[in-house]
């Protein structure tokens, strides 16, 4: 370029600035006549590189069109069933921390010690591997360490993923984002609106709260589990809006014989009381507002 001024040449500046007045013509050199196979970065080489880029881009776009980005259900700190999994590139570390001697009392070794040494060594590789030789088979220590770490990372990632799949299978779960997509697809096929998980569910309030059945509910200690306002607590479901889920006969059955964690009440309550209670509960509908 025009940088090659001879030292005795007078430098001319543009105005009173420090920008040197240049006299190079704005004509790009033609490399066609250059010997050898090296070529100019622009346009020759970049064109080749961008051919590769185009292939990658098209593949990438097809991927994004074919596969929606996963999204689970809204974060719920009380969700105990969810199996947290980091993104795939953190899996090796995630799995590593499950092993003895890097967990529990030795957790420090797992979180700071081993990864610190590994990543530190990787970062300082040029200062540890100082030989002149560049071919990987001529520097066996560096290369074998790298191969070992690579194999270890791949192994840990695969083990972690397998374990996750097994847990899912054992629990009969499918990952949230798949379930969510599936439900959205079913809703679309049924011509319904896509399920919306962010809209607060319509709050059911007690219908006919001064009905005599409420007294029965209190005496039978329903309120001790289902809460004083019958809105449920913890894993005990709410009874408000129960009429949308169960009809009267089902309610009679549940109260009489119990279900899951719910005890049977056929000894504490008479058949008429159960009937009265079930009739009242079957009226507890959200839509009744």
């Amino acid at each position: 370029m025009a940088h090659g001024h001879k030292s005795n040449e007078k430098v001319v500046y543009v105005g009173d600035s420090r920008v040197k007045r240049s006299n190079h013509p704005n004509i790009p050199p033609d490399y066609t006549s250059f010997p050898g196979k090296s070529e100019a970065f622009i346009p020759n080489f970049l064109l080749k590189e961008w051919m590769v880029g185009c292939v990658v881009l098209v593949g990438f776009l097809v991927w994004t069109i074919a596969e929606p980005a996963p999204l689970g259900y809204p974060a719920d700190p009380t969700n105990a069933a969810f199996i947290p999994m980091p993104d795939w590139y953190f899996l090796f570390l995630y799995q590593f921390l499950k092993y003895p001697y890097v967990s529990q009392d030795y957790i420090l070794l797992g979180t700071l010690g081993v990864p610190g040494v590994m990543f530190g060594a990787l970062m300082l590789a040029p200062f540890l591997d100082t030989g002149k030789e560049r071919r990987f088979y001529r520097r066996p220590i560096a290369s074998s360490l790298m191969f070992l770490s690579l194999i270890a990372c791949i192994y840990l990632t695969i083990v972690s993923w397998d374990h996750y799949q097994h847990t899912l299978e054992a629990n009969g779960q499918i990952p949230e984002h798949h379930e969510r997509e599936e439900k959205a697809r079913e809703a679309a096929e049924a011509g319904e609106e896509r399920p919306n998980y962010t809209k607060p569910a319509p709050v059911a309030s007690l219908v006919d709260a001064d009905d005599p059945a409420m007294e029965i509910a209190k005496q039978a200690n329903c309120v001790s589990c289902h809460a004083a306002d019958l809105k449920g607590q913890g894993s005990v479901p709410a009874l408000t809006g129960i009429g949308d889920r169960l009809d009267k006969d089902q309610l009679v059955d549940v109260i009489t014989n119990g279900r899951g964690g719910m005890p049977q009440f056929k000894d504490q309550l008479s058949a008429e009381e159960i009937d009265q209670l079930a009739t009242w509960l079957s009226k507890q509908k959200v839509a009744a507002e």
């Binding site: 920008v19 190079h24 974060a75 590139y89």
Partner: protein
């Protein structure tokens, strides 16, 4: 027209040498996939940069709809993915692009390692490259919380717990990342700020250093 505007600017700023240096430098044969097919391994660095550019662009566009707030974050992500035209593609670009950047960067790192390209005089560029690697992992980690779904929540929790196990400083790091005692509203805005401003700023500075060093030192010679 274009030429006279260019000349007018060039006369005042002398910009020609800047781009000429980039445009005209000779690229040697051994990295050119047109001459040796195996030289495609030298493309991974450029592809990492290309995907990074896509990440920056798609991220900028996503913030047009996204809100970093625990009540609305999930709703806005759900909205932009399903209600806005091309939302699935733009979010997909950002989500899968993150994985692709990691893959490309990984391959690029391996190429540099196994061709011994980090040896003198290119040690500093390797160190800067590793810093870029860590910044990318940090971007992946902070980006995961933003949609505020269960995965986001629990992955963040586990990640910060790991940081909290560091002796002495651990609890402070955890408090700093949480912005409080729980993964909640303050954590989300914090991670958003780190993901959108701090780490990309650092990333761009590091990339600039990386490229300047490549240009200064040239590509490592053939094996």
């Amino acid at each position: 027209m274009f030429k006279s505007v260019y000349n007018w600017i060039d006369e005042r700023l002398d910009i020609t040498p800047l781009w000429r240096d980039v445009a005209d430098h000779e690229v040697p044969e051994h990295v050119n996939p047109a001459h040796h097919f195996s030289a495609f391994v030298y493309c991974f660095g450029g592809l990492t940069f290309f995907i990074t550019v896509i990440q920056i662009l798609s991220g900028m566009f996503l913030t047009m709809y996204y809100v970093p707030d625990i009540i609305n974050a999930y709703a806005s992500v759900d909205y932009l993915q399903h209600q806005v035209a091309f939302g699935q593609i733009v979010r997909g670009m950002h989500h899968f692009g993150a994985s692709l950047v990691i893959v490309m960067m990984f391959l690029h790192t391996l190429r540099v390692f196994f061709t011994g390209s980090y040896k003198a005089p290119r040690e500093m560029n390797w160190v800067v490259g590793m810093l870029i690697f860590f910044i990318m992992l940090g971007l992946g980690f902070t980006g995961y919380l933003l949609p505020w779904d269960n995965k986001a929540y629990y992955a963040t929790k586990v990640g910060v717990e790991i940081a909290a196990s560091v002796p002495v400083l651990g609890p402070y790091i955890a408090d700093f990342l949480y912005g409080g005692d729980i993964v909640g509203a303050q954590t989300l805005t914090r991670f958003f700020a780190i993901h959108v401003f701090f780490l990309p700023g650092a990333l761009i500075a590091m990339l600039a250093a990386h490229f300047i060093m490549i240009r200064r030192q040239g590509i490592s010679g053939p094996l």
